[in-house]
Amino acid sequence: MTTEPIRVEGDFPVYFRYTVGVAGEKFFREIMENGRLVASRCSSCNLNYLPPRIYCERCMSRLEEYVPVENEGTVEAFTITHQDAEGNPLQEPVGVALVRFPGAYGGLVHRTIDVLAIGDRVRAVFKDKKERTGSILDIKFFEKIS
């Protein structure tokens, strides 16, 4: 009788289809149709949520007002990644930034084509309208504003 432990292999054969939700419909359709960002506004707390939500997390009011947000923002944090989601090395490293936008509570994490520093001004570069599908990838990347 061998003493090596037997291992049992298995998988978990599920995949997912996430609805973007009520607020998500507004956010992604604005990106798809108009190439612009929107936030949802809580006037009691004076907060503009980006990405938008249908509720204010502070006062739990229902939010129905959407306000435009400029496509240009400021880099709050920046990194360069060299590995993919499974830890394999990337052919080309990818820049990733957390971008804050004036007047908005929240921000976006996205790819960058430049090496950035905290405080740099950046702008979202969108795909051509006919290529947009209502996805966060309708924004191709953020580029530095010189």
Partner: protein
Amino acid sequence: MSKHLQKPPGVPLREEDFEAQRVLSVMYRPKMRYSWATGVAIGRFLKGLREGKIIGTQCTHCRRIVVPPRVFCEWCFRPVNDWVDLPDTGIINTFSVSYISTDTTRLKTPIIPAVIEIDGTTHAGFLHVIGEAKPETLKIGTRVKAVWAESTKRRGSITDIRYFKPAEWKP
């Protein structure tokens, strides 16, 4: 409730709404694969199956012989180290006739899952399938015997037993 909740919130969608792209959605296909260490008890159970044997354990305090084996008794929480070779016969404790497969598609030929109470245990058993049987002839209490895969094909898996089939009781 009638005051507050006559019109409960919620926007129901139909499958067609996705197909027609009336709603936006995001797909994600994770790759989730596992390699589980069997542990002491199941490791030994599976090795037993590879050798064509069913192995259980006995808690001498609770006077219980159980299969699948375990290294502690979940009743009295004492460690267990008495291993017992069990016969490969038993009775059907419960069974079903299933027309749905593991990936939720419909089967033409049903699978017959059953809990087999193994002879020599204290009403203990495990899940398996019945073969070489007409579903209408099966009952709770029907005697069954294991049909094993050929010894060269056994790998240390529950499928080393191909299925249980109804068998005559031989005293």
